[in-house]
């Protein structure tokens, strides 16, 4: 880089030191900035929205070029929440992987876990051996999770329009669902409950009753969102025809989920490429034909009702049985129980492996320290998350650790559509459009 090059004045200059390369980042030349500003139209300014603005769904940075109230160009700056989960997975064994992937899109932990586990199970070739009870519980948790994710979307979306009541209602109902998750998995979020081969443990006593109670409460509460928002003229005025993206736009930009279904295409992986036995459940795929934020809102409301239907069907078909594959080379050997210092191995199990069976002890030790081996190859498993197609591309090199795991997160892909939805619209509509995409930065940045 030549120092006489004036355009390079604002670029970071590099200097080699003993500690590595040091970059000196400086601002532009103020005289130049002022001069450029004077030459340009004084109504046209560039605004950074975020990364700390409360209406940007986490650390999302929107870079808007606005002319008066009109957005002429919109771009996203992402990466503020990048945590290197995909890299970290390569240094843990296959079972530990669920602990990481559950933290990707933190509003849809069970979907992340299921996509990952379905991929690993495909690599192992044990899809047919997953016990029915494990699949039913997976579906049950995923559908409850779909409700909680949609509730956050509706709640925060409402709050961004100034409707704080809907926000309070949404988080109230989500909290009920998280209580059920806490009872079942021990945690409100980041569960690591779904494991390759099945589940970490069975449902605890009282879980089915609590979920039945929960379904009853939600059936009572869900109409409140309709009453508050669906027919509300202010709500409709803010949402209708905002964030428009038609079918060809969705296809080109890879948008899936409610965004795609708001164009009238009933594409849902639960119907198109069923997994976990979804083909045996009775539910509808709601669509809208408005291609706008309001259509997506209505779809989310209807999907919540459909999810409740699926949850009820799950509860009805829960049969006692194992929740982990019978293959002892894969099934995690632990028997978890609540101890004085929290959840851990049950004392009975430890007594058995330490006291009576040396083979069981060796087996336990090998599985826990080494983990199981997965035959080399690659697999792609996709699930319909509340946001769209969540795909896990899982590669094994025959070892006890993933060789490569890539998540195709729907938030990441859908967020690309932000520019197409916002350019040419009003600044205030950017927030509505982004909210209708429902991006979660944990999933976008991973």
């Amino acid at each position: 880089m030549s120092s006489s090059d004036t355009s390079a004045a604002s670029a970071a200059s590099a200097r080699e030191t003993t500690e590595g390369t040091v970059y000196t980042v400086t601002g532009g030349d103020w005289d130049e900035v002022v001069e450029t500003a004077q030459r340009s139209d004084d109504e046209r300014i560039i605004v950074n929205m975020g990364p700390q603005h409360p209406s940007t769904h986490g650390v999302l940075r929107l870079i808007l070029e606005i002319d008066g109230e009109t957005v002429t160009e919109a771009r996203c700056g992402i990466g503020y929440l990048h945590t290197g989960i995909e890299k970290n997975l390569e240094y843990r064994n296959w079972t530990q992987g669920t602990t990481f992937v559950t933290r990707m899109d933190y509003l849809t932990p069970f979907f992340n876990e299921t996509a990952y586990c379905l991929g690993v199970e495909k690599l192992l070739g044990i899809e047919d051996q997953i016990p029915d009870r494990a699949s039913v519980i997976r579906v049950l948790l995923m559908e409850l999770n779909r409700l909680s994710s949609h509730l956050v979307c509706v709640a925060t979306g409402g709050m961004e329009l100034g409707a704080t009541t809907i926000m309070i209602y949404g988080f109230r109902d989500r909290e009920l669902i998280l209580d059920a998750f806490e009872l079942i998995t021990g945690l409100r979020m980041n569960h690591a409950y779904i494991r390759p081969g099945g589940l970490a443990q069975d449902l605890p006593p009282g879980a089915v009753d609590q979920i039945r109670e929960l379904v009853k409460k939600l059936r009572k509460n869900l109409p409140e969102y309709d009453a508050l928002a669906t027919g509300n003229p202010i709500f409709k005025a803010r949402m209708q025809d905002v964030g428009y993206l038609d079918l060809s736009g969705c296809m080109a930009l890879g948008a899936t989920g409610p965004v795609l279904r708001s164009t009238g295409l009933p594409h849902d992986l639960r119907k198109a490429q069923p997994y976990c036995g979804y083909e045996t459940y009775d539910f509808e795929v709601p669509t809208a034909d408005t291609c706008d934020s309001y259509g997506r809102f209505l779809i989310r409301l209807e999907e919540m009702r459909q999810s409740l239907r699926i949850v009820e069907q799950c509860l009805d078909r829960l049969q006692p049985g194992p929740v982990m594959v019978a293959d002892k080379k894969i099934a995690w050997p632990a028997q978890l129980a609540m101890g004085p210092d929290g959840l851990g191995n049950s004392l009975d199990h430890i007594k058995k492996i330490m006291g009576t069976s040396m083979e069981a002890l060796i087996h336990h030790f090998k599985l826990v320290t080494e983990g199981f081996r997965v035959p080399p190859g690659q697999a792609y498993a996709a699930v319909e998350s509340p946001k769209g197609e969540l795909g896990a591309h899982v590669v094994s090199d025959g070892g006890t650790r993933p060789f490569r795991v890539h998540f195709r997160d729907p938030s990441f892909t859908n967020l690309q559509a932000m520019a197409a939805m916002c350019e040419g619209g009003q600044v205030a509509d950017v927030i509505v459009a982004v909210a209708s995409l429902d991006p979660v930065m944990g999933g976008v940045d991973r």
Binding site: K122, A255, D397, R404
Partner: protein, 249 residues
């Protein structure tokens, strides 16, 4: 790789003699070698005193499949080959190999023909893979001459199908044509793969880093890029950083 009665220091491959169908990772001599495993416990500094240190095993990815592939796979392969022939392109030149594994169909595409193949897959009414779910990179340091792989999953909503395209590029010349003109959704996905693997997608409108900071050096998802980390103390014991722990692979 040594033969069955390998000399000392060369190691012994037990699977030559064993009927090893049940051993994971055993694919005979077919497929593509991605790794040679030595010993059993991942220690390569003489720390493995178990007596298994001399084991040598070749780890292979599934190799090319022969016709018939089964199900709709043949239909897609026929249509694709026919459509490429119509455009005056020999299918054998564009499609390096076709792999059917675990119920999934993978076409390994030569990188110079990737855009043509993707356009055909998208536009041909009998193929119609209208949705691309993005690109994922994989770094195989031992796959000499094509260390970097870009993996695309294409979904056809019309026909309800999913296929995979895989393109390889050498470390020394990490260029793959961009699919953004065909599938605009790959814009961010290709930036991500560039960011993490250093694959340069020629023709991308603005190939910059997307998740790592702009002035980051190196491409973190490559296998030669260290994970980093510091040892932590837990109940008096010192637990090494994740990339310093023993690997059993």
């Amino acid at each position: 790789m040594s033969d069955a009665n390998g000399t000392a220091g060369e190691g012994v491959n037990p699977e030559k003699e064993l009927s090893a169908e049940n051993l994971p990772g055993q694919r005979g001599d077919g497929g593509e070698e991605i790794r040679v495993q030595r010993g059993m416990f991942g220690a390569d500094n003489g720390g493995d005193t178990s007596g298994y240190g001399g084991l040598v095993r070749s780890v292979r990815l599934p190799g090319a499949s022969n016709r018939p592939y089964g199900g709709w796979f043949d239909e897609v392969a026929d249509e694709l080959e026919g459509a490429l022939e119509e455009q005056g392109l020999l299918p054998g030149n564009a499609i390096g190999k076709t792999v059917v594994d675990r119920g999934e169909l993978t076409f390994h595409i030569e990188r110079e023909h990737l855009v043509r193949v993707a356009t055909t897959l998208r536009d041909d009414p009998a193929l119609r893979f209208e949705l691309c779910t993005g690109v994922s990179g994989v770094h195989y340091p031992n796959d000499k001459g094509r260390e970097l792989h870009a993996v695309y999953h294409l979904r056809s909503i019309t026909h309800n199908r999913l296929i995979r395209l895989e393109v390889g590029a050498p470390d020394g010349d990490p260029h793959i044509p961009s699919l953004v003109p065909v599938y605009p959704t790959n814009d961010w996905h290709e930036r991500e793969t560039y960011d993490f693997f250093g694959i340069v997608f020629d023709g991308h409108p603005a190939l910059t880093r997307i998740l790592m900071p702009d002035d980051w050096q190196g491409h973190p998802q490559r296998k030669d890029y260290p994970l980093g980390g510091i040892p932590v103390e837990y109940k008096g014991a010192r637990i090494p950083a994740p990339d310093q722990r023993r690997s059993y692979s």
